[in-house]
């Protein structure tokens, strides 16, 4: 009986460690906590000029998000058809647009906070979801999930899921639809995004 139990325990241990080897969920959660903490303390609540806030936000954004990875995903099937120049330019424009829009949106985060609610697994290799909720002034708290990808021991955010809506999927559908309906294709998309920065 004891032997059976030991084998069982060893099996459980083996599987749990092998799952952990895949991606360290605790470390991923800690990473998102650090990013949001820095964002709120050093940017939203900091008593510095707007220009300084924007600069800090851009630095934090580039450090925390894997924009090359996300940018490639949101172009979908059009990524393969794109020339290296178009790819480079799209990533660059997409990065700038995200920084400028989220910098503004994040500034309205004053007085709010993220409450961490553990992690949940992803079917994609080396990725995990960090679950948070944001208490609102009124009504239900918003559910915000951070999709984190581990690569060579470092972590990057690759998607944010707000109330079940993935920002990566939404952007991908939007851009795919734009390119399909537009004779200018990717170049027209790049020009349109540029005009919004």
């Amino acid at each position: 009986m004891k032997k059976v139990f030991l084998t069982l325990a060893a099996t459980v241990l083996f599987f749990s460690t092998s799952v952990r080897a895949e991606v360290d969920a605790k470390a991923a959660e800690k990473f998102v906590e650090d990013v949001t903490h820095e964002g709120i303390e050093q940017i939203v609540n900091a008593n510095v000029s707007l220009a300084e806030k924007d600069a800090r936000f851009a630095a934090l954004f580039n450090k925390a998000f894997d924009l090359d990875f996300i940018g490639q995903f949101v172009l979908g099937r059009n990524w393969r058809a794109a020339t290296p120049e178009q790819r480079k330019e799209f990533i660059s424009v997409y990065r700038q647009l995200n920084i400028s829009t989220w910098s503004k949106r994040f500034d309205e985060f004053k007085g709010k906070k993220f409450v961490f609610k553990g992690t949940s697994p992803s079917t994609s290799k080396g990725q995990v979801f960090v679950n948070t909720i944001v208490p609102m002034d009124q009504g239900e708290p918003a559910k915000v999930l951070w999709r984190v990808r581990e690569k060579a021991g470092s972590y990057k955010i690759v998607d944010i899921v707000i109330e079940n809506v993935s920002l990566a999927i939404t952007a991908r559908n939007e851009y795919t639809s734009f390119i399909k309906n537009n004779p200018g294709g990717i170049d027209a998309l790049i020009a349109n995004l540029k005009s919004k920065i």
């Binding site: 009504g139 239900e140 079940n164 999927i169 991908r172 995004l193």
Partner: protein
């Protein structure tokens, strides 16, 4: 009440059959979730101009003549009136604890929260969590049907529209005033109007933000709407079925459109 019930049941039946029949099987559109895209885009354009020229100016006026404190009292009041609808839907979803919580919230907020103007229930560990008949249908595995954009109301589907109609008929204000046409006109219409205005006031900023940063606003809202609906789980779905937002996100993405 029986008349209402019959109306509701009839509507549900019709819409459910049409949802099944039109579930993308009759046509092979570019986007299989949106077989009526051309028509939907026209309604969408109409809605955009209606929101910009009528709804949002009214919402701005409302914002001008009220303080955040007053608006919070109004929103709390409106939410509290709908609390019994959530409670009934939780019952239909066989979620008994949330149903009881919802009833508890209604009792606490209606009395101690001064007719619902103050949401004091969280002090009793009764946090707000709304549900709808759309979610009830989803929980019983009713398919959503094709994406449709409704005039004035926006993104919807046969299942969602059924939910909206049933929830509206189940609204206490509606059935309390139904018997007397006089009271109905004096209470029901202003109540409904106030609901829309408060909603428009609360969402106009995020709407404008999204619109400004989007290259194809129609697609953005459609995508968000469809993803949100996919989050409502069917109770007979196998456990193994993952979360809808956990799509394949790897170095080499395949050609299929994740949606």
């Amino acid at each position: 009440m029986t008349k209402h019930l019959r109306l509701a049941v009839g509507l549900v039946a019709i819409l459910m059959t049409s949802a099944c029949a039109f579930d993308g099987r009759l046509s092979r559109p570019e986007n299989k979730a949106d077989p009526y895209e051309n028509f939907n885009r026209k309604v969408f354009a109409f809605n955009e101009s209606f929101y910009d020229n009528v709804m949002f100016p009214i919402a701005k006026g409302y914002r001008k003549v009220t303080t955040p404190f007053v608006r919070e009292r109004v929103s709390s009041f409106l939410a509290n009136v709908k609390e019994p609808v959530s409670a009934a839907n939780y019952l239909l979803q066989l979620k008994f604890v949330p149903a009881l919580k919802s009833v508890g919230r209604f009792v606490v907020n209606t009395t101690m929260g001064l007719g619902g103007m103050f949401d004091v229930a969280p002090g009793w560990k009764l946090e707000r969590k709304d549900t709808s008949f759309n979610e009830t249908l989803a929980s019983w595995c009713v398919v959503e049907g094709p994406y449709i954009v409704l005039p004035f109301l926006g993104a919807s589907s046969p299942r969602s529209l059924t939910g909206t109609v049933v929830d509206a008929v189940a609204d206490p204000i509606y059935w309390m005033t139904y018997q007397d046409a006089n009271i109905s006109a004096k209470v029901s219409y202003p109540y409904t109007a106030m609901g829309y205005i408060a909603f428009a006031e609360a969402y106009q900023d995020i709407y404008n933000d999204l619109k400004q940063n989007s290259v194809d606003f129609y697609s953005t809202l459609r995508s968000a709407y469809i993803q949100k609906q996919k989050g409502y789980k069917c109770r007979f779905a196998p456990e193994a079925e993952g979360e809808s937002y956990d799509f394949d996100f790897d170095e080499d993405f395949d050609e299929t459109d994740a949606e």
